[in-house]
């Protein structure tokens, strides 16, 4: 059976293939894609707008082929994908708020990022003045005996990002959670327009601070794909080193933080120490605790010295010594397991429908890991396992992260062992004509997608899609039928990015 992507691209002019094909399709094929998404043959990677075009990145779930389809919409409307395939809903609402593109037939037309505070509507499309009077945001209606609502946020009780959660509960049991996001919308894609590569890379590295390496990595790869730039080997390997250090730091911090949400502070304290050790090693080796602004188009701005290598190695040795005792502690504490096992279960079918990435997908039977599935260098030359579980509960997500810590430790060893000599960067060349590029990089949270078009060395359009877009809606699903007190556990085990999602 031919891949649906072959059918879509057949006989069509491929506009750019850097590295994946993009083709303009008509309304008929657009609907065909919607159907294939709904049937589960394709997974949705992203949907984003331009002033009179809507783009959709898709992946064949069987062969992992990737393509982008674009639909011209001169009248600013297109047939809704979300109507057939719910994962597209929020993306369509966002495309409407930013570009004024209407998804015809969409079941949910409420604004998403636009809270009517910008003083303007459709800021990236044909701008019009903001509405003087807007109806209140309507949360989905709930009916039934004995229900009450709990409104939380945007300012939360902990040191976390802002967002609003509307719980409807029956006693202690959550009947429905509805999220309202967009509070941290900074207009990053607007700021990108007209930016040079240096500024754009800086902005990309500030989409989600915890994934600053992953974003700089994905952005740089997309820009290099567009420019046809070949990055020196040493830089390719150093980038993977940075990415694995970031993954380690986040996983270690979050494993502790999840336990902390079950009031098991010992794990939190001990994991926090290990996380801090990674940040300090990163600072010594690369000059920044979060390794911000190190990856840039063309390579990396800082090379690794012998002293840096030694510090990283010593830090890893220490983690190897200490971490197993913490894993054992997690595994042997029944009161902690009581909170995490069977809590916040994400069913594999739902994980597949949303093509959800990261530890959330891998704890629910979806094995996608961009490092393995797309095998971008240097991961094609490294040995590692992609842990997968099917239980889908908080416990499974913790275990995936535990296993990924172990894998990252091994990956860093291999990288340090085999790090090629040579220059750590090359100059980004200059090209006048419009050039497009796309990249997908596995951040700690999941796959970060960046698509961009350059013209005269400046960004004409750049879209950055955080893995959280497909994770946030699933958090609503998994919380159902759990008690309110278990929400923090479910939430932390997902650890979606607000800033990465809100842009």
């Amino acid at each position: 059976m031919a891949s649906p992507i072959d059918r879509i691209l057949e006989g069509r002019e491929i506009l750019q293939r850097r590295p994946w094909p993009r083709a303009v399709v008509g309304a008929h094929l657009w609907r065909f894609v919607a159907n294939e998404l709904a049937r589960g043959r394709l997974g949705l990677l992203g949907l984003w707008g331009e002033p009179s075009t809507v783009h959709m990145a898709i992946m064949d779930e069987a062969t992992s082929e990737i393509a982008t389809v674009s639909l011209d919409c001169p009248d600013h409307s297109y047939a809704s994908i979300g109507r057939h395939h719910p994962p597209a809903l929020r993306l369509e609402r966002a495309a409407h708020d930013l570009f004024g593109l209407t998804a015809e037939g969409a079941p949910d037309t409420r604004p998403w990022l636009d809270h009517n505070c910008w003083g303007v509507r459709f800021p990236l499309g044909d701008r019009i003045n903001a509405l003087s009077e807007v109806p209140r945001y309507r949360f989905l209606p709930v009916e039934g005996d004995g229900l009450h609502q709990i409104a939380v946020g945007p300012v939360h009780a902990g040191i976390i990002e802002p967002g609003h959660f509307r719980f409807t509960a029956n006693g202690e049991t959550v009947v429905r959670l509805e999220e309202r996001l967009g509070y941290t919308h900074k207009g990053i894609e607007g700021l990108m327009i007209g930016a040079n590569l240096e500024r754009a890379a800086q902005l990309a590295g500030r989409v989600s601070g915890d994934s600053t390496v992953a974003y700089a990595y994905a952005f740089s790869k997309a820009a290099e794909a567009a420019l046809g730039l070949v990055v020196p080997d040493r830089a390719v390997w150093l980038r993977a080193l940075l990415a694995e250090l970031e993954r380690l730091a986040n996983h270690l911090g979050d494993i502790g933080a999840i336990c902390n949400d079950a009031s098991f502070t010992l794990m939190h304290a001990l994991c926090g120490v290990l996380r801090e050790s990674i940040l300090r090693a990163s600072n010594s080796a690369f000059g920044h605790r979060l390794m911000r602004d190190i990856i840039v188009p063309g390579g990396v701005t800082r090379d690794l010295s012998d002293a840096g290598t030694e510090i990283i190695q010593a830090t890893l040795d220490n983690i190897r010594l200490r971490f197993p005792a913490l894993v054992e502690l997690y595994d042997n504490t029944a009161s902690l397991q009581d909170r995490t096992v069977d809590t916040g279960v994400l069913k594999p079918a739902l994980a597949k429908q949303y093509a959800v990435g990261g530890y959330i997908g891998r704890a629910s039977g979806r094995s996608f890991d961009a490092r393995r599935t797309l095998a971008y260098p240097p991961y094609d030359k490294l040995r590692f396992e992609v842990p997968v579980l099917n239980e889908g509960d908080v416990n499974a997500r913790v275990w995936i992260r535990v296993r990924e810590v172990e894998q990252s430790l091994s990956l860093i060893d291999q990288i340090l062992d085999r790090l090629p000599e040579g220059p750590s960067g090359t100059h980004a060349g200059h090209r006048g004509e419009a050039r497009e590029g796309m990249a997908i990089v596995e951040g700690f949270r999941g796959d970060v997608l960046v698509w961009l078009r350059l013209r005269d060395g400046l960004i004409e359009r750049c879209h950055l899609r955080d893995p959280s877009w497909f994770q946030w809606p699933l958090l609503e699903a998994v919380v159902e039928d759990n008690i309110v007190a278990d929400f923090p556990l479910c939430n932390k085990s997902f650890n979606c990015s607000y800033s990465g999602h809100d842009l």
């Binding site: 976390i160 941290t184 911090g253 001990l270 801090e276 940040l279 979060l290 502690l329």
Partner: protein
């Protein structure tokens, strides 16, 4: 677990010596805190953190303040869950237009006397997000700021130095009611 707890009895603590108070912060605070006599707080400040639109980088480092190395609670500084319990609002991010209202309301929910500490380069003037249709700018465009701590994000040590300066200032300018 017993083994781990036992070990920590004999191991030297991770916690490091306190850094000295930041000189620049001390002089910025000389104006801010000196304006009015403050009620004695007994060298203890409760902090409410507000993310007004940050990329979450600053939040990561604020979290680090609570880890065993920096152990911010030993100075009497603790993070609280509600602005109504807070003496200090620690605000991060360029203030987004979507968060402006929430930030103002949090400010008004914080009882007097209160101090506002703006964390990070974005909180000073919007940083690299300044000029966006969706961004107001620095924190001081919305609420009065007593102390800025620079960095992208500031290191936990830089934040600790700033907070210690605040603590000293709050202490010396305090009068017994």
């Amino acid at each position: 677990m017993r083994k781990l707890l036992f070990e920590s009895l004999f191991r030297r603590p991770f916690t490091e010596a306190a850094p000295s108070a930041d000189d620049a912060a001390v002089s910025e605070l000389a104006n801010a805190v000196g304006r009015a006599a403050r009620r004695r707080l007994g060298r203890s400040l409760s902090i409410r953190e507000v993310d007004a639109g940050s990329c979450n980088g600053c939040e990561l480092e604020i979290h680090a303040l609570n880890n065993a190395y920096y152990d911010v609670e030993r100075f009497g500084l603790r993070f609280v869950a509600s602005p109504r319990h807070a003496d200090v609002l620690m605000v991060t991010g360029p203030v987004t237009k979507n968060m402006r209202d929430a930030l103002e309301r949090t400010y008004h929910a914080t009882p007097n006397p209160k101090w506002i500490v703006a964390i990070g380069d974005c909180a000073r003037d919007g940083g690299c997000f300044a000029g966006s249709y969706a961004v107001v700018g620095g924190v001081s465009e919305v609420i009065p700021v007593d102390l800025h701590i620079a960095g992208c994000p500031p290191t936990p040590t830089a934040m600790l130095r700033g907070l210690l300066a605040l603590l000293e200032r709050a202490d010396t300018s305090a009068v017994t009611p």
